[in-house]
């Protein structure tokens, strides 16, 4: 599937309005000539592993919300409802790819190999970031909406310069599409033909603002005008997401340049644990999306394929329990940083002004103790 021409045609055929779907909300596998090939190789084991991922990251998410309620985290941004969008895309990546995300991509972080306590460090406030980006091929989450899309573009440009076929992926939300940076990122990526994937999780909301405030047409419709082909995929269909992502990755690896993916999904929870969606969410809409749940759908499909037997279910449940326990204990085990670490790593090499403040504060702390 690496013939550029062929792909251009496939993509063009789906642009701009087709919603790529391989599994219906009720779990039926539907045929899709263009995208079936991209997931045809998946074995039962791999499908089960994806199912486990879905279950586990939802469990982590639930546990994190509980930890926040118990005062162990300052804040938590639930990904409930977006598991398929994140797992389907992140599991398509290679370890040498590099991911630049926003704050809600905790399932992506999990897939990249971030440690369980690493997932919550920034939310517990024990550090600004929970992992070394180079260990896992994933930058620390960008809280400034949209900023990371440019970083992904620059990283991709670097990959191209280096002559490697690694790909950079920018994850961002529907709200982020309004920021100038995201548009500039598309322009730079198109101009430099950078191997970057713009992966937008359109979860229908930016805090209290519905996507209709940000965009008058489908989010996926924007990229083509910039010269970037785009795919609009059912974000609650983990197979479809993986297929779209693999297609885009292949394009990027083989010199095809940037691709834009809109994963259409829904934020089933609050924006963060501080949010009160009852002020703005329409319950009917939420209920309609509940019926499209990404895990139930995949479970039904696996059931239908006879892959998900009792033993498999039990093993996944056990794994989720175990991860939840480890996650909780890992979180509680995160220690407060040393006071003087406040001054560390502002600069890579000493800065005389800051060094002075540091020694003065050390002296001051000395007088208190």
């Amino acid at each position: 599937m690496s013939d550029d021409k062929q792909q251009e045609i496939d993509l063009a055929a789906l642009e701009p309005d087709g919603l790529i779907q391989l599994v219906t909300p009720s779990g039926d596998r539907v045929a899709n000539v263009a995208f079936d090939p991209w997931v045809a190789d998946l074995t039962s084991e791999q499908l089960l592993a994806m199912y486990e991922d879905l279950v586990v990251v939802r469990r982590i998410d639930t546990e994190a919300t509980a930890l926040q309620r118990q005062g162990e985290l300052g804040l938590w941004p639930p990904l409930l409802g977006q598991e398929a969008a994140q797992i389907g895309s992140a599991r398509a990546l290679r370890s040498d790819d590099f991911v630049f995300t926003s704050y809600r991509e905790n399932a992506v972080a999990y897939c990249r190999g971030v440690s369980l306590p690493g997932l919550v460090e920034m939310w517990r406030g024990t550090a600004l970031a929970g992992w070394n980006p180079f260990d896992v091929g994933m930058a620390s989450p960008a809280v400034i909406i949209g900023a990371q899309t440019l970083h992904a573009t620059g990283y991709a440009l670097g990959c191209a310069k280096d002559g490697v076929d690694s790909v950079a992926v920018a994850y961002f939300g529907d709200g982020a599409t309004s920021e100038g940076d995201v548009n500039e990122a598309m322009i730079f990526a198109a101009s430099f033909h950078a191997p970057v994937i713009f992966f937008c999780q359109n979860n229908q909301w930016a805090i209290s603002e519905p996507v209709g405030l940000q965009a008058q047409r489908s989010i996926a419709d924007r990229a083509p005008g910039f010269g970037i082909p785009s795919l609009r995929v059912d974000g609650n269909d983990v197979l479809a997401v993986m297929a779209a992502m693999r297609c885009a990755l292949d394009r990027a690896r083989t010199g095809g340049g940037p691709t834009y993916i809109e994963a259409v999904t829904y934020r089933m929870g609050p924006h963060t644990t501080s949010d009160d969606p009852s002020r703005y969410v329409d319950e009917t809409e939420r209920a309609a999306w509940a019926a499209k749940d990404p895990i139930a759908r995949f479970e039904a499909m696996l059931d239908g394929l006879g892959i998900l037997d009792a033993a498999a279910r039990a093993s996944v449940a056990a794994k989720a329990d175990q991860v939840a326990r480890d996650f909780r204990s890992g979180c509680l085990g995160l220690q407060d940083p040393e006071p003087m670490s406040l001054f560390d790593n502002v600069y890579a090499t000493p800065h005389s002004g800051l060094e002075r403040q540091k020694s003065q504060y050390a002296a001051y702390l000395g007088t208190l103790s």
Binding site: M122, S208, R279
Partner: protein, 333 residues
């Protein structure tokens, strides 16, 4: 006279402004149905409609730039930036357009835009939610910069800011949003550009603003127990700075301590120290002392108590300007 939280006092000020002048419009992210993440605009869209209280797309430069166009058309836009750390994408529109347009056009085009910014730390937040960017704007000619420390000021100052024909950066001390106080909506307001002597004293002048005013008052009380009379000034306005009030105080006390959360280098404290040294050189008994955030990015929340000036660090500086024995003789700029 009603008892209100600082957040509600701003909300009631916005409501009065909307009632008083039909050209006042509010723009921001999530300010409508949600009422803003701090609920400052709670109920305003329901009362005034989505034409006057507008949720905007998620883009700060877009919000401020749109406000500029509305001001050209005779409106008085009030913009909410959701958190301090999100004002930077709008920096160009603020410093190169909002600040300069009146000058550029020889006074023909007024920019009566108010930019509301919840700011400062101490709430245990994640990165970019605890910043104190006021010095950037105080260094920018053409802008006025104010900040409030109590509900009554909050209410009257937001109304003054909106009524001002100049652009105003209105910094709201987010960790004091829940502080309660009496607000008399019909009281005559103190002019926005003036500082206020909150507690009189004779030994040391302590200048604070926004979130640190209550901390400064606590420090003054603690110092009093220790036999020191500290005069606390709530600066209120950071551009212009009411140097006359500070100068009068320092001429009396001969000693000056300034505190703010923002980084020390190039902060408001530097300007105050420099200007007051210039105005009161022969009255000063000691070099002005600054108690500020460090020259680091705002740290992880579990470290913020070390970053933020507190009562002890302020008292330490008070001791120092008093020439008292103090382990921190080296504690200087």
């Amino acid at each position: 006279m009603t008892e209100l939280t600082l957040a509600k006092a701003i909300g009631s000020g916005l409501r009065r402004a909307l009632l008083d002048d039909e050209k006042v419009v509010l723009l921001g992210e999530d300010i409508g149905k949600l009422g803003g993440v701090f609920r400052v605009t709670d109920g305003l869209q329901a009362e005034f409609g989505p034409d006057r209280v507008m949720d905007t797309p998620l883009a700060e430069s877009g919000i401020v730039g749109t406000a500029v166009g509305l001001a050209f058309r005779g409106y008085r836009p009030v913009v909410e930036i959701q958190f301090d750390g999100f004002i930077y994408p709008a920096f160009d529109q603020i410093v190169a357009q909002v600040a300069k347009l009146h000058y550029r056009t020889g006074g023909n085009v007024k920019m009566p835009i108010t930019i509301r910014v919840p700011y400062g730390g101490g709430i245990g937040a994640v990165e970019h939610h605890s910043e104190s960017p006021e010095a950037y704007f105080a260094h920018t000619a053409g802008l006025r910069v104010v900040t409030c420390s109590n509900p009554a000021d909050a209410h009257h100052m937001i109304r003054e800011a909106i009524a001002s024909d100049d652009p105003v950066l209105f910094f709201e001390p987010k960790r004091r949003y829940w502080t309660k106080g009496d607000v008399d909506e019909d009281a005559a307001a103190v002019p926005m550009g003036t500082a206020r002597v909150v507690t009189e004293g004779t030994d040391v002048t302590l200048v604070a603003y926004g979130p640190l005013v209550p901390t400064a008052l606590d420090a003054a009380a603690a110092a009093l127990d220790d036999g020191l009379s500290v005069e606390v000034i709530d600066l209120r306005s950071l551009s212009p700075i009411d140097f006359d009030t500070v100068e009068a105080s320092v001429r009396k006390t001969g000693r000056l301590v300034i505190t703010h959360e923002a980084a020390q280098s190039g902060g408001i404290g530097a300007e105050i120290a420099a200007s007051i040294t210039d105005r009161c050189f022969f009255h000063l008994e000691a070099a002005p002392a600054r108690v500020t955030g460090f020259d680091t990015p705002y740290p992880a929340s579990r470290l913020e108590e070390h970053f933020l000036p507190d009562l002890d660090r302020i008292l330490d500086a008070v001791d120092r300007v008093m020439g008292r024995e103090n382990s921190l003789t080296g504690w200087t700029a």
